[in-house]
Amino acid sequence: MAARINNQEINNQQFQMASLVSHPDEVKVVSRRFGQGATDIDRYLALDGYKAVQKALSMKPDDIITQVKESGLRGRGGAGFNAGLKWSFVPKQSAKPKYILCNGDESEPGTCKDRLIFEHDPHSVIEGVMIAGIAVGSHTGYIYIRGEYRYLSVIMQKAIRDAYAKGFLGKNIFGSGYDFDVYWHGGAGAYEVGEESALMESLEGKRGIPRIRPPFPAVVGLWGGPTVINNAETLASVPHIILGGADWYAKLGTPKNGGTRLFCLSGHLVKPGVYELPMGYNLKKMIYEVGGGIPNGRALKAVVPGGSSTPVLTVDEIDIPMDFDSVGKAGSMLGSGGVVVLDDTTCIVKFALRTMKFYRHESCGWCIPCREGTDWLEKTLTRFHNGGGLKKDIDNIQYLAENMLGRTFCPLGDAAAMPTIAFVKKFRKEFEDHLEGRPCPFEKAGAELAAV
């Protein structure tokens, strides 16, 4: 009996939507239309939909870029680069077509926010893509959604069809004389494709291996044309900035970190969920008040503040504002907004091992330091967790990880190395507790550990 998936059935199915949460400290901008039925285009229009793109059509392209730049909107995919500045790198004149590429390949462990945007407000992404296109003089946009999110692809494909049916996409949009097309594109399971150059390779129908830079995508991107690549949340924020103004948006956050962002709270929390909070919201408060604190009377042990690739923070390091610069100053990264909370029953060695197992699985093998480094680190950590570690291994783990940093085409190598270095540096004692045949102190007695 072979698996046969009926896509017609998927199209007609009522999906069980991911549950929404709320907290009084939330400031709803990108999540404003969540739970409001805005997948329906008429409902979206009633909720101020497609007003921003019409405003953008009446603006000078450079003014759109200036607005986005001054709003302090920074890349929500993790790198945190000023979105308007990124747009300004696209050359005005280009012999080849320019493209907008929306990155909806969300797959950084700890991150589940773009999913809610596609589920509840797909038109805001389309509108953001259109505005980006008008700003840089592009006429084509692609919205790439990871393969696992099939139900969201169904929602997005319908949203695009509805926008065409209304004449919002295609030739002469809103009677402006400007043509703009938006297409859906789907992945088929690959974390690395979330990296911008690998994303372009994947869209071009190839293995998702990274490209060397320079040239940067803004100059040479999809099929050699200048390409703006932004995360789905970044693009969904753009219409709100155009309507509300750069000042309003900037003031929601902290200096140089405009607006709000979706924080995905997960792990050992009483109330995990996706919350939209102002940039700069205090991490400790986020854990104890918004997330409801640690369940079962346990104590907090550590926090991974921005998805699995960001260095872990200890209990003493969490009284910080959650914006790109402050978390950077604390030695980690705001990343993709995935806040993973660990209580004191968690074995850090095991957590480090699971993180490394992921990166080993996802490494495409193009760059040797990443391919070999992740493999050796996974093997070492597996042996370590089983009690077969030696004292010199601890330094060796750190040495291996440090030598992966900055030596790969794409940041996957760094993403694997950075958290590992932090685990060893900040929780060295826990590594020492596993040494020389001692079983993991956190494992239940009698538990079987995998052999290397």
């Binding site: 009996m1 072979a2 698996a3 046969r4 998936i5 896509n7 017609q8 998927i10 069980q16 991911a18 549950s19 969300e106 797959s107 950084e108 462990p109 700890g110 991150t111 589940c112 773009d114 999913r115 692609y142 990871r146 393969g147 696992e148 099939r150 139900y151 297409y183 594109h185 789907g186 992945g187 088929a188 399971g189 690959a190 974390y191 994947s202 869209l203 071009e204 129908g205 190839k206 293995r207 998702g208 099929w223 997960s266 792990g267 050992h268 995990p272 969920g273 996706v274 699995s308 995935g338 993973v340 909370v341 660990l342 968690t346 957590f351 699971r354 993180t355 992921f358 699985h361 996802e362």
Partner: protein, 160 residues
Amino acid sequence: MKFSDEFESRFAEMLTHYPTKRSALVPTLLYAQDEIGHLSDEVIAELARRVDLTELEVRNVISYYSMLTTKPRGKYNVQVCTNIACMLRGGEELLDHCKKKLDVGHKGTTGDGMFTLEEVECIGACSWAPAVQVNYDFHENLTTDKLDKVLDEYKKKGTQ
């Protein structure tokens, strides 16, 4: 090689979206796999012909993407996430439970062809962990009891 009308119209439309034919390849492979069950030699040859690539080039792409498979799977692909957020909330226990209940290991298929079990990386359900995806359906905030009910439902649906 016969695909559904829906597949054909989607494929024809997608080709108009890109300047190169092969750009349609990755999503097309997944839709083809959905219909046929796996990417058989015949499917690979057909799609290679359609996008002007060699079969080897298509296989090269297939081997990169974790959702694509050249081997048949069961009717329902049970994908258990054990990545960090799910691990902290019992993802590994769910996987162990499935292994015992279905009596198969990672990527194994039950004798009746009903279920394939797969340990997968983050599926984007971190705030609703632990989570399992069966084919494309998400099942979240699971316990072993809840998962039993979910699997029983699929089994019932699959034997109808």
